[in-house]
């Protein structure tokens, strides 16, 4: 039976079919749905971890216990999980272990475009790269076989176009795997210097054996066609090659670390021009060049930036492009914005008004950087706002501390903000931190986290209180405000900025998209009372328009939150909660 499945859904199906029992992940676009889908199978224990490092360590523990285990993360999530995974390569596995890392070429929903293949090479972990949903499911099974045969965690690399595309998957039954007995084996599992010295030898031997396997595995496949050009490629790029040049010869790599040398050399000998097609960095190309294999085109043709596509391949290869016509007038951009009713809007309106330096973080509230709020000064990575605020205020002194804040979401705070707060107390900072608690992990599509009191399966669990965590970390000034009340929010921020101690303000209101959040009827504006002062436009709400020198409200998207009304000095708003 075949079914249309999202790549992420197919990875989850592959986990179930391969007998996986344990999944732990932190959400991250484009990897999130794997774990949500895995949780739907009764045979798999699945959970949200507070961050990728804990998820990876938990998967290592489950593997030691003898289970086939798994964790998924986005490319930058691997940065967080890298510490355990680099050494997991040394201690190996008991039950098979697979780590999926989802890259985001083109940065549809990411802060950088790093190429995870470097990690596979650096951590000395084998890496498989599927092209579509069918391969997502099948390669998970292959990855577990390699993991147990070669005693190593195995990486599975996807990208946005694999993770978030749907294609047909052939379904199989589950191959139930009993727990492998755990035996105390310190000479393998204890990564202490004397032991790791010996394990490193094993790791290098294993990679050599995998290099041999790479020459013969059907994961690496030659499709001979016209021999004028031969493409070496993998993943989604294989599909672009087939679309643009269906008759050309192709060597498709399914195992991208380690790569075969002889197989590629033999392929190169059969074609007139050898072209390497890969998104982001020239990893395959560098491997070929290092092994003295002739490359007639690669990064010089396609560059290191963004996603590739069939037209980019055609253009780079000098082939004809499809004809098209363009709209010859400027089309205004449509950047993403905070939703109508978003609780972050009230806070960012206040921050914008106070003209503070805002050290931001990763989440929906990164959108506070956009016009007209323009309220964010810097965004780096998960949890970085607090550390950045610390360094910034230490160097610029008390005056700067009175004019700057860190802004971080509830899930991001749990992920890696806590250690930043510990540092503020320990190192005598007077910085002010705003924790935007919207009771959910928002940007990735509403996942539970340790503060929400619910597990991945929506079972009740202990709700970690952010205020308790901050107090326990040594912050004495901790308070809670509702960003819907902009006057109270402003007053609280002013007070904490003036304080001679580190402070945390928990800015608390649930995400407007949560099902239990009730909305008011839409507001309207009395055109006779509206003076056209544009004060209500300052909040950057997509439901407010301005035509003929008057503001008006789009009732199809207004949720009646009333923030705009708080901005109005002329009592021009009607409807909403009063209706």
């Amino acid at each position: 039976m075949k079914k249309l499945m999202l790549g992420n859904q197919a990875v989850a199906r592959g986990l179930w079919e391969a007998g996986c029992r344990f999944v732990s992940s932190y959400p991250g676009t484009p990897s999130t749905e794997i774990t949500e889908q895995a949780a739907l199978y009764d045979e798999i224990y699945a959970e949200w971890a507070p961050n990728e490092k804990v998820a990876a360590e938990s998967a290592v523990g489950a593997s030691l216990a003898g289970a086939r285990s798994f964790c998924a993360m986005k490319h930058v999530g691997f940065n967080v999980a890298a510490d355990p995974l680099f050494t997991a390569s040394y201690i190996g596995v008991n039950g098979g272990m697979v780590v999926c890392v989802a890259d985001d070429p083109g940065m549809h929903s990411s802060q950088n475009e790093q190429d995870s293949r470097h990690y596979a090479i650096a951590a000395k972990l084998p890496m498989l790269e599927p092209s579509d949903s069918g391969e997502c499911a099948a390669f998970v099974g292959e990855a577990y076989e390699l993991s147990e045969r070669f005693d190593t965690p195995v990486m599975l690399r996807t990208c946005t176009r694999v993770a978030h595309s749907q294609s047909l998957v052939k379904l199989h039954e589950r191959d139930e795997k009993a727990l492998k007995p755990y035996e105390k084996t310190p000479q393998k599992y204890v990564a202490a210097p004397a032991i790791s010295v010996k394990r490193h030898v094993v790791v290098e031997q294993r990679m050599e054996e995998l290099r041999q396997l790479a020459e013969t595995t059907p994961l690496n496949r030659v499709e001979m066609g016209d021999t004028a050009v031969g493409f070496v490629t993998s993943g989604t790029c294989y599909l672009y090659v087939k679309e643009a040049f269906p008759d050309a010869s192709v060597l498709k790599l399914g195992l991208v670390n380690p790569m075969p040398v002889q197989k590629i050399r033999d392929f190169a000998a059969k074609v007139d021009r050898l072209i390497v097609v890969e998104e982001l960095d020239g990893v395959i190309e560098a491997h070929l060049r290092a092994n003295g294999i002739r490359v007639d085109g690669g990064k010089d043709l396609f560059g290191p930036l963004g996603e590739l596509s069939q037209n980019k391949l055609r253009a780079a290869m000098g082939a004809a492009l499809p004809k098209f016509r363009t709209y010859d007038e400027a089309v205004p951009g449509r950047p993403p914005v905070m939703c109508p009713g978003c609780p972050h809007r009230g806070l960012f309106t206040v921050l914008s008004k106070l003209k503070l330096t805002v050290l931001g973080d990763i989440g929906c509230y990164t959108l506070g950087s956009g016009a007209p709020l323009n309220a964010v000064d810097a965004v780096l990575c998960m949890g970085a706002s607090i550390g950045m605020a610390h360094g910034f205020t230490k160097m610029l002194g008390e005056d700067a501390a009175r004019k700057s804040v860190a802004v971080i979401g509830d899930s991001t705070f749990m992920h890696s903000g806590i250690t930043g707060v510990v540092n503020l107390a320990y190192n005598k900072s007077i910085a002010t931190v705003l924790v935007l608690d919207n009771s959910i992990t928002g940007m990735t599509g509403h996942q539970q986290n340790p503060t929400t009191g619910l597990t991945l399966q929506n079972e009740e669990t202990y709700p970690i209180r952010i205020e308790d965590v901050c107090r326990a970390a040594g912050i004495e000034r901790v308070r809670v405000v509702d960003p819907q009340d902009m006057a109270a929010t402003e007053a609280a921020i002013r007070e904490e900025l003036a304080a001679d101690a580190p402070s945390v303000i928990i800015v608390r209101r649930p995400c407007a998209l949560l099902k239990y959040v009730k909305h008011n009827p839409p507001l309207s504006i009395d055109p006779d009372k509206c003076k056209g002062c544009r004060s209500c436009m300052k909040i950057g709400c997509p439901a407010i328009r301005f035509t003929d020198k008057k503001a008006s409200i789009d009732p199809t998207i207004c949720v009646g939150c009333g923030l705009c009304e708080q901005m109005c000095k002329f009592d021009a708003f009607e409807g909403g909660a009063r209706a």
Binding site: L4, T29, P30, T32, H108, S109, D132, T160, R161, H164, S165, Q166, S167, L168, T236, L239, Y240, K242, E243, P246, S309, Q310, N311, L321, P322, K323, F324, R325, T326, Y327, E329, A330, V331, P332, G333, R334, P335, P336, V337, M338, C339, C364, T366, L367, G370, A371, P372, M443, T444, G445, M537, G540, C541, P542, I544, R545, F546, D554, T556, I557
Partner: protein, 190 residues
């Protein structure tokens, strides 16, 4: 059969994903190889969103490039202007006439272009419908997506029964009648 490419474009939150799911179910039921590609996350938040739907004997690339779309199904008229270069020569644009202002227009940094339908009609074969009005007539502004699928269905070589079956399989039971009505209104428009 060669691959047919459809692009569904709109504004995050307009229900484009349900439209692509429905279309995928119809095409799968018709026995084609099908690929759908969508983008989640940051770009969903009221931004410009694009979904690709491709079908045929064997589909390779999951994305549609400039000059490749046989059909563009657009939920918002400015988005039609943005994506028209993806239509192939002889392709067909089906567009909602609804306008949703993007933030640069709201802030006054840019103007919303005028007479877009007329200008697009000079470039391509265009069917423009007020899908919001038809959706409201069917009972809910949220049914814009199914109205537009109805308009598209008239132009594709797939029996009406297959569309209705896919609607039954895709939408929740309590909204079934509303969506069937929205589909019929769309099918009979344009």
């Amino acid at each position: 059969m060669k691959t047919t490419s459809i692009m569904i474009v709109g504004v995050g939150g307009q229900g484009t994903l349900l439209a692509s799911k429905l279309l995928g179910n119809v095409l799968l039921g018709a026995g084609y190889d099908v690929k759908l590609s969508e983008v989640h996350g940051m770009s969903q938040r009221g931004g410009s969103v694009v979904t690709y739907v491709k079908y045929g004997d064997k589909v390779y690339s999951p994305i549609v490039d400039q000059g490749e779309a046989d059909y563009i199904l657009s939920f918002e008229i400015l988005e039609s202007a943005r994506w028209i270069s993806y239509l192939k020569e002889g392709g067909h644009l089906i567009t909602n006439t609804q306008k949703t202002w993007p933030m640069p227009v709201i802030t006054g940094a840019a103007a919303y272009p005028e007479n877009i339908v007329e200008k697009l009609s000079a470039l391509a074969d265009v069917t423009a419908v007020d899908a919001l009005a038809l959706a409201e007539q069917a009972g809910s502004a949220k049914a814009v997506n199914v109205v537009l699928i109805g308009v598209l269905s008239r132009r594709m070589d797939i029996p009406e029964a297959a569309w209705l079956k896919a609607i039954e399989e895709t939408v929740p039971a309590k909204f079934l009648e509303l969506n069937k009505k929205a589909f019929e209104l769309g099918r009979n428009a344009g």
